[in-house]
């Protein structure tokens, strides 16, 4: 003889909550092996990502890559646009619309960072050699990794990477990630 519907509801609620608590308790997540843990945590430790950008589609690919890499640990993205000034000109020479191009490249990168809701700061610097400057910036900004999107240099047989990335790869004080798009189409 059931006395009240409220009693039935409480009884059912009691059973459901006890059973679901025990069910949850017994379903322990699987063990994380040491190798997996190490690779995962070391990437997690990358807090400062330096991303040299040129404002081209391939640079933005690098920015997106950096966003994915840094999202989980809420890393800081440092965007850098290096204006290469030829040695024939003084370092602070007027360079046509280079400043405007730099601004635009940086703003595109910032939009991507905003899409992923990531902390970021931007630098526009002038230098004789982009490669050397990037290495210097990595040291100054205490970057944990440099992420670069690069272009296919068609016909460049002896060095597939181009001058800048070659210097960065050789001299960088930190990890370097190079993202090379295939050469066929450039949007």
């Amino acid at each position: 003889m059931i006395h009240s519907t409220l009693g039935v509801i409480i009884a059912v609620f009691f059973l459901i909550s006890i059973i679901s608590l025990l069910w949850w308790m017994l379903h322990v997540p699987p063990i994380i092996p040491q190798v997996a843990a190490r690779a995962h945590r070391e990437v997690e430790a990358l807090k400062n990502l330096l991303i040299p950008t040129q404002g081209m589609a391939y640079s933005e690919r690098g920015v997106e890559l950096a966003c994915r890499l840094g999202m989980e640990q809420n890393a800081t993205l440092i965007f850098a646009y290096v204006i290469e000034v030829p040695r024939t000109l003084p370092l602070n020479a007027e360079m046509g619309n280079e400043d405007k191009v730099a601004q635009e490249a940086i703003s595109h990168a910032e939009q991507l960072a905003a899409l992923h809701k990531m902390k970021n700061k931007s630098l526009i610097v002038r230098s004789r050699s982009a490669g050397e400057e990037i290495v210097k910036l990595a040291r100054e900004q205490e970057a944990d990794v440099i992420v670069m999107g690069i272009r296919q240099h068609i016909g460049l047989k002896e060095n597939i990477l181009g001058r800048t990335s070659d210097i960065v790869l050789r001299k960088a004080p930190c990890e370097v990630i190079i993202d090379k798009l295939p050469g066929e189409e450039e949007t």
């Binding site: 009693g7 409480i10 059973l15 063990i31 092996p33 040491q34 997996a36 843990a37 070391e42």
Partner: protein, 531 residues
Amino acid sequence: MVSDNTSTPPSPELPHELRRDITVWGSYMWGYADVGADIYAALGLVIAAAQGAASLAFAAAGIVYIMIGFAYTELAATYPVAGGGHYFALRGLGDFWGFTTGVALLLDYTIDIALFAVASAGYVNFFLPYFGIEPSHFVFMLGSLKINYLWLSESFAFILFLIWLNIIGIKESSLFNELIGAFDISIESSVIVFGFLFAWKPEYLIQQWQTSFPTLHQFMYGSSLGIISFVGLESISQAAQETKRPATIIPRTSVTLIFTVFIFATAFSTLSLGVLPWQTFAQHIGDPIATLAHAIPYIGLFAGPITALLGATILLISANSGVMSASRLTYSMSEFGLITKWFDKVSPKYRTPVRTIVVFSVIGIVEMLLSFLTPQAMDTLGNMYAFGATLGYLIVFVALIRLRFSDPYTPRPYKMPLNLKIHYKDRIVDFPVLGILGFLGVGMVLFEVILTHKIGRIAGPAWVVLGIVYYIYFRKKNNMPVTKSIERNWEAHQMDVLISAEEFDLAEEYRIALKERDEKLKKHEQIKTDR
């Protein structure tokens, strides 16, 4: 599972360590064994005090209890070693407080052994008449005192059995808990479900609420008694060093224990007052579950044997929990040089701390004998029980808050909710707001215990003071600092603990956190020397 090929080999320098043999269900059951018996004891007391508002009193006590639970969950997941509250206080506040917490909790565990073995034997006596044995015949007189020597020897036998069980292995001892605990949970759940389905009248509950609402004083007393029913989470931490993957499993079992016990306590009290008048429970304080079960259709017929069986078994595993916890607590205290090194020994054959099991169970036997010889001893022990637990918890809350500042690098897979981010020495520290609230809550309960428990407020502190006297003597004798702590390499120790627990992810997190700190320190020093 892919874990097999990456499990660590046993460290060669520590050949006789405790063995990791406790599963998820086992870990949960070490806690439930302790708590289950406590509800059994407290239900009648709380209803007698808080009357129509008993459910509310349980819920109020439950809030303080949930905070204690969260604190233990955080600490046990962060430091997955044996020792429980004593270890947390040692890490957070140093050797002296580690010892004090340990000695307070040790009081509780030895009482556990004595009280619950006796009570369990009492329930067994229910069945003896069916076999033609009348327990009340086995009595002899000692002066003016009637002593039931059958009951005494039963209790004695139970404790001997538990000593043997715990010596032969944690796996066996845990299995004993797991089976009996599962049975008890099913029975208790059935009583609740059948009760709500066939006997519960909400209008009756409302009427009692309206006509028998307690005074504020009665209510507070009732809810302070409610806390008793929630003691016992500690045991999960005591078993941590023998639990598989403790940093993952202990948060789960603790949280589940917190909520199942909370649900059981509120459900039992709500059911009770919707079935019988509170006065009935006040008259049968000693056996509330049996009283309740008798009033429920269908299962009422079996209420006598079922509740006697339930009582006997649940109290026995509670005593088992006392034996295990007392031995691991003292093993850990000995390991860290707070009591004699003689206890820091694991049997090479069974991989259990045989010496502590035997010695502290014998203390339990002594307490048991006392309770048979002096009628007030039982009361005294009960009072001391509340004192020991609340003092221990109070220190643990302080340790929790302190550790957030002093040890921010150890990964905390679980953190108490509600934290304030504050700046402290160039770092951001999560300040635990709930830790402060919990401290105040437990502090209030301790205050109430000292105020109302006439014997406890003398005997409890006396035990602790006695312990401290031993501590001073021991440390002086061995040329160790008394007020200060021994130097220890906690970082290496913590890393060992995490690796041996197979918590590789946390170990990596810890390694990287320490590396980052070291790099920061190096840079700071460089700047200093550059000047």
